[in-house]
């Protein structure tokens, strides 16, 4: 079967975000079928399990299995919280879905609500996405007007309400328990699991948390069936996928391709290759939380298993490309500063660890580093990974330990020669490792 784009086939059309356009192209037909009284919720869960659809937010958990954890016999309301807090550096795919095909997401939400027996869904969108919020709200208003949402969604007799909930600038709210705490009106501090959200999530009730792109896959799975879906890319992590490519490439952008596309093809063919005719130095394949790859390690397929086997992860599929002129000390300083800024501060290993990683990298970049700092970075990382409530500490430690290990000579050079090239360029009067200020 030829590969069919489900997210980006119409995005050049000016009205692609409207209800009229979406309906004209077969929109809401799958939700109508799913919400019909004859369709059993369990059959939908089984179908999604059989499709091997895996979460597109970063963790790659099987979606149908996650739905199956929600208790059937409960007197509590159940909730769906859509993770639209896209804030992993290098990632900009959910924004495209919400701006260009918001109804595809809403149709996915309807299908999930039927499958799990949910009446209330929230779309937690990052506060900075003002335009995407407007587009989503408009689409929701259209869906209410048509009777697709509301007390009798699509004439099914089931109530399904959808509310857009704006975040306010906090990376940690993309972590599912942090997101739920934030949705409850609190500081977005993550919570220890278990209990998992499926059992005790938002407002103390069973909650499904799914990423935007994950839900937007559902209408297509219902349309073509689990077997055909599984045949798109590798069987264990199949499907159409949005890959984000940024950094030093000629043509940065979002590319919809089958899961498992070779990383080299993605960079060289789709993103136009490394810019300015330069050579490739490093790639972060799955958002800045992923282990970095050297140019020699880039012959790898972009799917969950292949990247795990290569010692990194697909994550959010945010591919950040760095050319041969990049100083990896500066790149690491940028990433460490990010995690230090975004740590919620609850857990000491993360609050202090991200701070130390940023400080140590800062002093190496600024000409005050010591050779022992390289071991110290690894030591700090060892004290962070797996020792905190959520994975933000891991997300800082993974790039840190891999960048230092794989690009050690950049660090040694900065330590021996009075700082990183970029810093020395900005401070030409400071010679050697004698700088006394930060």
């Amino acid at each position: 079967m030829a590969f069919r784009k489900i997210f980006t086939q119409h995005i050049q059309k000016k009205t692609c975000h409207t209800m009229a356009f979406y309906k004209k192209h077969g929109g809401y037909e799958q939700a109508k079928a799913a919400l019909s009284k004859r369709k059993k919720p369990d059959a939908l869960i089984d179908l999604v399990k059989a499709s091997n659809l895996r979460g597109r937010g970063g963790a790659g958990f099987p979606t149908g299995v996650k739905w199956g954890f929600v208790p059937k016999a409960t007197d509590k309301p159940k909730y769906l919280v859509v993770n639209a807090d896209e804030s992993e550096p290098g990632t900009f795919k959910d924004r495209l879905i919400m701006e260009k095909c918001p109804h595809l997401l809403l149709e996915g939400i309807l299908i999930c609500c039927k499958a799990v027996g949910i009446e209330t869904a929230y779309i937690y969108i990052r506060g900075e996405f003002v335009f995407a919020t407007e587009r989503l709200q408009k689409a929701i208003d259209e869906a209410y007007d048509e009777g697709f949402l509301g007390n009798n969604a699509l004439g099914s007799g089931q109530r399904i309400d959808v509310t857009v909930h704006r975040g306010a600038g906090a990376y940690i709210c993309g972590e599912e328990t942090g997101m739920l705490t934030s949705l409850e009106g609190d500081r977005g501090n993550p919570k220890l699991k278990p209990p998992f959200p499926a059992i005790e999530g938002v407002f103390g009730c069973p909650t499904v948390v799914n990423n935007v792109e994950t839900l937007a896959n559902l209408p297509y799975i219902l349309e073509i069936g689990a077997d055909a879906y599984r045949a798109i890319g590798p069987e264990n992590s199949p499907g159409p996928k949005l890959f984000c490519v940024s950094g030093h490439v000629e043509n940065p952008g979002t590319f919809e391709l089958p899961m498992g596309v070779p990383l080299r093809t993605l960079i060289d063919k789709h993103a136009g290759g490394v810019w300015k005719g330069r050579k490739l130095k490093a790639v972060i394949p799955g958002g800045s939380s992923a282990h970095v790859l050297t140019a020699d390690e880039c012959d790898v397929a972009m799917d969950i298993e292949s990247l795990a086997a290569a010692g990194t992860m697909l994550g959010s599929a945010g591919v950040i490309v760095m050319d041969e002129t990049t100083c990896m000390v500066d790149a690491m300083l940028n990433v460490m500063r990010f995690y230090h800024h975004e740590s919620c501060g609850q857990c000491t290993p993360c609050r202090e660890g991200t701070g130390w990683l940023a400080k140590i990298t800062h002093r190496i970049a600024h000409g005050e580093g010591r050779m022992e700092d390289l071991d110290l970075i690894q030591d700090v990382c060892d004290r962070m990974v797996g020792k905190t409530i959520c994975a933000l500490a891991d997300a800082a430690a993974f790039p840190a330990e891999s960048i230092v290990k794989k690009f050690k000579s950049d660090f040694e050079s900065a330590i021996q020669n009075g700082g990183s090239p970029a810093w020395k360029k900005r401070h030409p009067s400071v010679v050697g490792g004698t700088a006394s200020h930060a």
């Binding site: 506060g127 900075e128 906090a170 407002f203 945010g318």
Partner: protein, 167 residues
């Protein structure tokens, strides 16, 4: 001062609608702060107190929530808040040059506001627009694929708008 603040009837209606969307009142806090932000122009201590009183939530709790997040428009922010994305993908494509240019043109460094109160400059973390790096957010709007000329033009446009008294 807190006594003088109050939502207009239209905003109050939006607030009451918000309360119908959540099973708890407190869950409406973040969106209510957004209402306060657009009604009063910024979130300072008086605005936090007003929201706390309105929602019957302790003021200290509201303060704790507001200060956890970076995106509420805090007291003292200039009319035009220029937020330059400085995370890796933008940094690789010249975000530092964008910041430097703005500093040259406006005479403020990140974290500062011009004396006239017109411009504030911030360096912010990833805005989810890495394919159009370098980029910035000015109030609600994204300005993408920036060249130094684009930065100059944006500043000129904003100065003109300020003179004309419109946004």
């Amino acid at each position: 001062m807190a006594d003088t603040l109050s939502f207009s009837p239209t905003t109050m209606k939006q607030y009451e609608w918000l309360l119908t969307r959540y099973p708890t009142r407190r869950a409406a806090l973040l969106p209510t702060l957004r209402l306060a932000e657009s009604e009063f122009g910024e979130i300072g201590v008086p605005e936090m107190r007003y929201v706390a009183d309105l929602m019957e939530i302790p003021p200290a709790f509201v303060f704790g929530v507001v200060t956890f997040y970076t995106h509420y428009r805090r007291a003292g922010t200039g009319k035009y808040h220029i937020q330059v994305c400085s995370t890796l993908s933008c940094a690789l494509r010249g975000s530092e040059d964008v910041v430097t240019r703005i500093t040259e043109r406006l005479g403020i460094v990140p974290g500062e506001t011009t004396d006239c109160g017109l411009f504030s400059l911030s360096k912010v973390e990833c805005l989810g627009s890495c394919d159009t790096a370098p980029m910035l957010q000015m109030n609600d709007d994204y300005h993408e694929d920036l060249s130094i000329d684009d930065v100059d033009q944006l500043i000129e446009q904003l100065r003109e708008s300020a003179k004309g008294g419109s946004n």
